[in-house]
Each structure stands twice: as structure tokens, then as C-alpha cells.
Amino acid sequence: MTRPRTLYEKIWDAHVVEQRPDGTALIFIDRHLVHEVTSPQAFAGLRASGRIVRRPDLTLAVPDHNLPTTARRDASGHRLPIADAESAAQLAALEKNAPEFGIRYIDAVAPEQGIVHVVGPEQGFSLPGTTIVCGDSHTACHGGIGALAFGIGTSEVEHVLATQTLLLQPSKAMEVRVEGEVGPGVSAKDIILHITGTIGAAGGTGHVIEYTGSAIRSLSIEGRLTISNMAIEGGARAGLIAPDETTFEYLKGRPYAPKGADWDAAVAYWKSLTTDPGATYDKVVVIDAADIAPSVTWGTSPEDVVPITGVVPDPASFADPSKQVAAAKSLAYMGLEPGTRMQDVPVENIFIGSCTNSRIEDMRAAAAVIKGRKKAANVKWAIVVPGSGLVKAQAEAEGLDRIFTDAGLEWREPGCSACLAMNPDKVPAGERCASTSNRNFVGRQGPGSRTHLVSPAMAAAAAVTGRLTDVRELIA
């Protein structure tokens, strides 16, 4: 009998091309997602060394990071130029590189365009048990369908384009088990914020985190992608959720997913992708779902999480002296005083979007809270950015766009938007944003911007009241 293995070990073992004596292994990469920001230098490198893309069929490119989310065509259907010269140059580089190297390309105005991590699963390009890489750290997202997916840098992008492999050191396996049922108003985002607050921003360093337990199993694929998306916020290289019927149901019939007899063979294989009984993790954290409240961040690290019913912590309350210093700095940056009730913090900006929370379920959750209500007067800027053109079309078919616009929120074109300050969607210095994205770092949403990470329903609640709000008060 073979030794019991974790899900992570199974996927790893199935991808070893060559084992090296020093413990590293050459790992085959099944899917490579490419976007406009981290690829130009990689393609330039290939060109300079006269190399080609080894497996163009396994490579899919789509622009997302710095595309403006305002209209992309004028009234007569002509494509509008991008005002920012550098963004336009990066997009032009991808538009040139994709056909030159023969890779699949979804262009900026295609109906399928969207954030890479939304597009991959949506197109069935990302599959369980595959290895997936992309030059973006939130590639971990695809772990939600049971793929071993991680972010890589531009040198590695070039390496994968040229060889379809990466030389990797195996990670340790960590289990985060969330058991039980979450209360009303608590979403996948609250679960992952709570996990990040519990394990800390470096809690998963050197590990791949497998999320298990009944609270995870009962999530939709959208919710699972949200969880795995933020594995990196807990320091992990990747997140994983074992594929199951929910996963198969989600993938069936998607454009790049296997068809017919191939589908049956694939499902049979995917069913073997679970951690064996008796396999051991290097680290285990168990969380009771009942302890998770709608959550919000107060600082500039994603581990700075409190329940919405909580208060801004006193830096002196942390045991670790360097965390005390960091917390004091965070509070100065965030313009917050210890002891302030989170619900008393006013917000001027609302961002509902990003690869963490821009799928149809997120749009529905936000719309359910907004419906029949109006944006608060003190909220200056509130945008809803669907994760892909397909999410946008679906939301419009359900009338969700009207719910947002009737309430005074803006309904945008798909892209990364205000998740990172690389395109025109930015939060002004000194202002707060209730944001459904994944990072609250200093300057992440624009120089001087102050980010509070929340779920889509919580962002919608803040849009309505003009302050961080316990969504349970609005849905009761």
C-alpha cells in the first residue's frame, strides 16, 4: 500500500518531471495565465534569446490590471484609446506578443474579457488537479477548484513560457479546518478574513494551505475561490480545496473543460484528489464557524482583522513589541484612534470588485443589501466592477446593474480596477474605502488611501449608511 498523502502531495507528485538530489523538482505546469503587466519583459526576454513558447496551447492571455473600467467603445462601437501612455503601451505589447508567440488571447473588448482569476475557472481553463501559474500573487485563487495555483515573478513567467516547467522546492502542507455553520450575514470573505486574523500574515509561510471542514464544503465555487484567493494574505504559497460534486457541477460544459468520455475520465481522476485518511499535515489550525462574525480590517496588514462589532485595538495590547510598533504606524496611517467602534468609522469610497469578490454571487450579495436603498450622502465614490464580461452580462440579465445604479453606485466594465492603483480607479489620499479586494497595504488603492477590507454585503451596507456597518442590521 502506498503511504497516505495530502491533496497537495498528490498534485505535486503527479507533476514531477525530474527530481533533483537537492530536494527541488522540475514541475510541469498545466496552465499559464498571462496578463499585460508582468509579461512584457518576459516576452522581450524570449525574443532576445531567440526562444519560442513551448506550449502555446496551455497559455491564455487576457488584459485586466490596468485597463480603465469606463466604457471601452464609443456610441458607434469604435474602440476608445487608453489615455495613460504606459498602460496603453503594456496593452499594446500584449496584443502584439500574443499572436507573435501564438498564444490564446482574449482581447480587451471581448465578451469573455475579465480578471485572469475570474476568467480561468469561468472558461474551464483552470481545472482540478492542474498546476496553474500566473504573474500575479492571487493566482492562489484557482485553488478553490482544487488546482495547485500560485503566483510567479516575471523571470518565472519567461521560464514557463520557454519550458512549461518551474524548478520548485516542495512546500509544507497546512490544514485550516473550519467546522460548523456560519451565522447570517457571514460570507466566504468573512471566513477568510477571520482565518487571516487568526493565523497572521506570516502564518502560512512556506506552506500550501488546504481548507477543509463542513463550513468550506458547503461553500459554492464562488465562495471557495474567495477563500483560496487570500491564501497568500496568510503567507501561504497557495490554497487548495478538494474538488467535489460542487466543483464538477460548476465546471461541466465550460468552454475549455473536457467533454464527453474525456469528462467522465476527468471526473474519475478528480475524485481521487482528496487527502488520504491518515495523511499528516505539517500544521493544523481548527476554527469554529460559529465564532466568525462579519469582519473588517482596521490596519495596513490583512491580519489586522476585527469583527464589525469590535473596536480599533490599542497597539499596546499586542504581545509582540514589533507588532506594537507596526500597529501604531498603521493607526497613524489609517487615521484611527484605539477604542473607536468600527461601526463609527465613516467611509467616503466603496469598491465592490477584484478577483476576490467580483463573481455573480458577490454581485447578488451586494445587490440584495442595496436593493430599495440609496447611497449615503457622504459616500463620494462607489463603484461596482464585475470580474468579467460574462459576470457583467449575467448580472445585467438579472437586473442587478439597475439596483446599483438606482441607488447611486456606478456599474463598470470588468478589470482589476481599484484593487491596485494601476489604472484610473483610485482612492484619494486620506480617504477611506470599504473594499472587497484582498489587500489593505499602505498606498495599495492609491497613495495615502485607507482601505478597510470587507465582504460584498458589508461594502454594500457601508455604501448605504456611509460608515462601516454590521450588515446584519440591514438584512434582519
Binding site: E18, Q41, R104, S137, Q169, A202, P255
Partner: protein, 196 residues
């Protein structure tokens, strides 16, 4: 890539924990299609303070940076390593790094040295006035005050740094093994190829 063995020079005693890649190189510097000139954007936020360490004469062009836990956390942007390299940094010393950052550092000829906090504290003291010496071959960090700290490094990374090796050419030596894997995959799991 420039080979790296011994580095001797001033070390910037930054010391802070959780320095993320947004701090190392803010996002607006990412909109380039080339790698050069990013040192100007390195630590832009911190350098807005006229009293910052980086532009303080003894530390200008210093080849070593000392930082706290979890250096390079956050986004996977390799620009962080390019920015450090363009600033002249060849070695970072910290108690821990984000996995992605340390990989990117090595690929760009920057050595990420891991030392315990106590050693970092001592080196921060020394760095205030005197240079620090790194010897990759012997895996040591030493000072003129008889301090001697040894560090661990993955042997492959060490070799790449010492020889200034380009990883793609190394992997191309395994071309046959990659071809065999692809054939086996097509035979055993043909459905793995994208259907469309």
C-alpha cells in the same frame, strides 16, 4: 547575471517588519515594459521623508539592506527585486521572507540571507557606523568587531548566485525529460489538454 560571492559595504539598517512589495516599489512603477531605472522608485514612500535612510550619504549606494520579519510580503511583483538591484542592493538580511520574494531575489542576483532576530539586532547596531561583510561561499556574515553569523541557503540557489546562472538554460538541459512527461500525460490523461 552578475555572479555574487563576497559583498562588503555599508548595510542600510531599515529593520522594519512586514515590508511589503508595495513599499519596496509602489504600483505606479509597474507600468513599464523594461527593467531598468526602477531604483528611483524603490522605497518611494519612505524616501518622501527627507530624513530617510536610503538617501542619507553613508547609505547611498549601500549594497546591503537589513530588515525585519516577512520581508517582501504582498504582491508577487518581480519589480521589487529589480528595484532593489537597481538601487544597488546585492544582499538583504532578515529573519524571514515571503517565498515569492526570496525566489525573485535569487533570480535577479540578490542574496536573501536569513538570520535570527538577535543577529539582526546586533547587525543593526554595527550598521549604524560600520560596514558588514557577507561571504556566500562560506555562508557567513561578519563584522570588524569579531561578529560571525552563519546562514543556511538552498545549495541550488547558492550555486546559481555564485555562478550567475540563468535558470532557463539550466532547465533546457532537461528538454528530453520534459518531452517524456508531455507524452506520458497525453497518454494517461488526454483530457488535460484544453478542450477548445
Amino acid at each position: 547575471m552578475t555572479p555574487l560571492n563576497e559583498v562588503d559595504g555599508r548595510a542600510i539598517p531599515l529593520g522594519l517588519k512586514n515590508i511589503d512589495t508595495d513599499v519596496i516599489i509602489p504600483a505606479h512603477w509597474l507600468k513599464t515594459t523594461s527593467r531598468e531605472g526602477m531604483g528611483k522608485g524603490a522605497f518611494e514612500g519612505l524616501r518622501a521623508d527627507p530624513a530617510n535612510l536610503f538617501d542619507n550619504p553613508p547609505y547611498q549606494g549601500a549594497p546591503i539592506l537589513i530588515a525585519g520579519d516577512n520581508f517582501g510580503c504582498g504582491s508577487s511583483r518581480e519589480h521589487a527585486a529589480w528595484a532593489l538591484g537597481d538601487l544597488g542592493i546585492r544582499v538583504v538580511i532578515a529573519p524571514s521572507y515571503s517565498d515569492i520574494f526570496s525566489g525573485n531575489a535569487v533570480k535577479n542576483g540578490i542574496l536573501p540571507v536569513v538570520l535570527p532576530q538577535a543577529a539582526i539586532d546586533r547587525l543593526m547596531e554595527v550598521a549604524a557606523t560600520d560596514p558588514v561583510h557577507i561571504d556566500l561561499e562560506n555562508q557567513t556574515v561578519t563584522t570588524m568587531f569579531q561578529d560571525r553569523f552563519t546562514f543556511d541557503i538552498d545549495p541550488f540557489r547558492k550555486m546559481c548566485l555564485l555562478e550567475g546562472l540563468d535558470e532557463i538554460s539550466l532547465t533546457e538541459k532537461s528538454d528530453a525529460a520534459i518531452g517524456d512527461y508531455e507524452q506520458k500525460l497525453d497518454a494517461e490523461r488526454p483530457w488535460m489538454r484544453p478542450a477548445a
